[in-house]
Symmetry: C2
Subunit: 418 residues, 2 copies
């Protein structure tokens, strides 16, 4: 089965919106083993939209359209599909009653209702109406001459809900058992090229599942993609490969699929009943922000300090002025005192500290921009890491926060942090 995506909206062609509906539908189609060969983006223009639709009718079995279902003059998807498929528009009595009811509820009568508002009740003859559980524009599913045309509104929240609730189950029936099953494994504390070396023979030998590595912001994702005639069999292909990858690089493995590093760290703290306090200098609150994004983090993360001045490091963390004077704020010695100080002050099991130079200003030949120290103090000992990363201020913050979360995670996993 060959699918094609059509994204409708002038704002997409002006670059004012980044299309996420296309990737969303494409991922689900890939998951069903349906090949997407083309994606076309077109503005709110009837003749160009028709041109794109006709082309799609000529080459694809399944055509998924996003956008152009609203009540305004610019919303032309229903007209274009009607013309391209040769199915005249018909007003659906149930949908028109529903629209009328909304007007009565809101305005007390139908006098405010214009012909424009009736437009959303028009569908190409023979369509099945796709309900919209979170908005006003219903979609439709039209089968004509061996082709399936699906039209959904462009608002991502609405499209995603309708796709999940109605389109996906219908497509499963249509697509059959053939499937592409994807498994993502996440690694931290190891670079993309080092991990690629560990897995080189697997990557070159494997054809099904395929293996691909993707690096981003200090972590590496290994993507296993298995093509299979029967969905249930895909795991037989993936499981042995996943086991072999974990055997080789298990020390750096932290999670699967949608799991984030902060989620894994939070789970580690909560499962062990341990507590954490943070002392952040150059990351400026980002580690606290990432940890507090996880629901329930208040059960283990008790407090954080953003100590942007030497005085704050002295007042709040008990860093000694002599240490600051001897080694500067950007030193292993100060990182250690920060971590131990915050742990003591907050009376937590762990104290994590980061100090460094995020840039773009503030660097010196001895202490360049991108230099940083991360320290983790527990009752038993204190670990200090030195880091050096080039990048923008925001990149340096992000990489350091990820490195600090890695240190936490590896310590919690009972592994030697490096």
């Amino acid at each position: 089965m060959r699918a094609e995506l059509i994204m409708v909206g002038t704002e997409l062609l002006l670059g004012e919106i980044v299309d996420t509906n296309g990737p969303f539908m494409a991922r689900h189609l890939a998951d069903l083993g349906i090949d997407v060969y083309f994606k076309s983006t077109v503005g709110d223009n009837l003749s160009r939209l028709q041109e794109v639709l006709k082309k799609a009718f000529g080459r694809s079995d399944l055509i998924l359209i996003s956008g152009g279902l609203g009540p305004t003059e610019d919303d032309l998807t229903r007209e274009a599909v009607s013309l391209a498929a040769g199915c005249p528009l018909r007003e659906d009595p149930e949908v028109i009653r529903w629209i009328e009811n909304r007007f009565v509820e809101r305005y007390g009568s139908l006098t405010a209702m214009s012909p424009q508002n009736r437009k959303q009740a028009l569908f190409p003859a023979g369509s099945e109406i796709i309900p919209n559980p979170v908005g006003t524009a219903p979609g439709f599913w039209l089968e004509k001459a061996g082709r399936i045309v699906v039209a959904l509104p462009g608002v991502a929240r609405e499209l995603e809900a309708m796709f999940r609730e109605t389109i996906l189950p219908k497509l499963r029936t249509v697509a059959g058992e053939e499937a592409l099953v994807i498994r993502n494994l996440h690694f931290a504390g190891i670079g993309e090229s080092s991990l690629a070396e560990l897995l080189a023979d697997l990557v070159s030998a494997q054809t099904n599942p395929t293996i691909a590595l993707y690096a981003s912001g200090g972590t590496v994702r290994v993507r296993l993609a298995a093509k299979t005639a029967q969905r249930a069999k895909a795991w037989d292909l993936i499981a042995p490969l996943e086991a072999e990858i974990k055997r080789r690089a298990g020390a750096y493995f932290y999670g699967v699929d949608e799991q984030s590093l902060e989620e894994v760290v939070a789970k580690g703290f909560l499962e062990r009943g341990l507590t954490l306090a943070l002392a952040e200098s150059c990351t400026g609150g980002l580690i606290a922000h990432r940890i507090t994004n996880i629901p329930g983090s208040s059960d283990f993360f008790l407090r954080g300090y953003v100590v942007y001045t030497n005085q704050a490091k002295i007042d709040d963390l008990g860093v000694r002025p002599a240490t600051l004077a001897a080694f500067t704020a950007y030193s292993a010695e100060v990182a250690r005192e920060m971590a131990e100080g915050v742990r003591k002050r907050a009376q937590t099991d762990f104290g994590l500290a980061v100090t460094g130079i995020a840039g773009p200003g503030g660097g010196t030949p001895d202490k360049p921009v991108g230099l940083a120290y991360i320290a983790l103090a527990s009752a038993e000992n204190t670990t200090v890491q030195k880091h050096f990363w080039r990048g923008t201020r925001e990149q340096v913050k992000e990489r350091l926060a990820t490195a600090a979360l890695q240190l936490l995670w590896r310590t919690l996993s009972g592994l030697q942090a490096d």
Copy 2:
């Protein structure tokens, strides 16, 4: 001039990558007054790529291609353009020398160089080679039968650099003086619908510039777009409208174009030589993170506290246990003591505090999820705001951080905060 974008790459059709190259080029083309009528996305497949190219040749004057210029078998853009335009591929002697030099530098000889590596020196006859200042794949600009075809690598960093340095200046010559000039005005502390009411007659009366409102995460953007035959004249159209909008809603205006709220706040503190300390409960470090993203923020932001427990509020900010017991941590009274306490402890001009319930857990009938208080203390007085927002944990954090930055900005502007 009609332009069309062609995005090449199977990973785009699998939904594994969100296309940002298309929007990037589209924005620049809109800015030049060049209309983009179609964007096509196609996989790494020679016949389908050729099909898309032929269609584009038939209907567009300018065709911009992203991707498919690498050295692997999957990289097919040069072959497809060669076939579609009828221009045989020729090896460029300068590019081949450059590739050979890289091999000698890296491996000491040419023995490691394969025929695949020579591929990146092939260009359709008649092409102008577009240098790649940040990567290995050069692009090309081909004029044939009144059409212009531009091919650039798919790596965003490379495409953007090449587009800015070489393509944009060349397009300016081609496009002439006609232009669409965009001006974005940013507003905070006012909802989209209230701002729309203030500007309703302007929005409906204006055709050039057009006015559009966009809400996102607690701020509203007003976009003015002027079409003009001469770029220099666009400001004559925009300036009087911008002045009228500021006359009506100036109290909520904070910046233009790419300016962020935190940038405006940072500028306000630095210009006035004032200092800030933060006490964050439910925003969990996000305000500190946003402020410390701004270079130079260490000159006014001295320290922040993420006080996730009552004990931390007592220890670090001097909140009275009696206040916590009487009103709970989610109260105007505690917000006030937090703001005044952090200002005193850090000895800053301003102390800003946020306390509330980000959810999803922790709500009660009296104090539901989404309830929050923001307090700003100065030497003169303390302002306390009550907020209530529905949304996910991350949305509530984001909205509250934006509201807190708004309060700072309006106070700095010498305006009454509401």
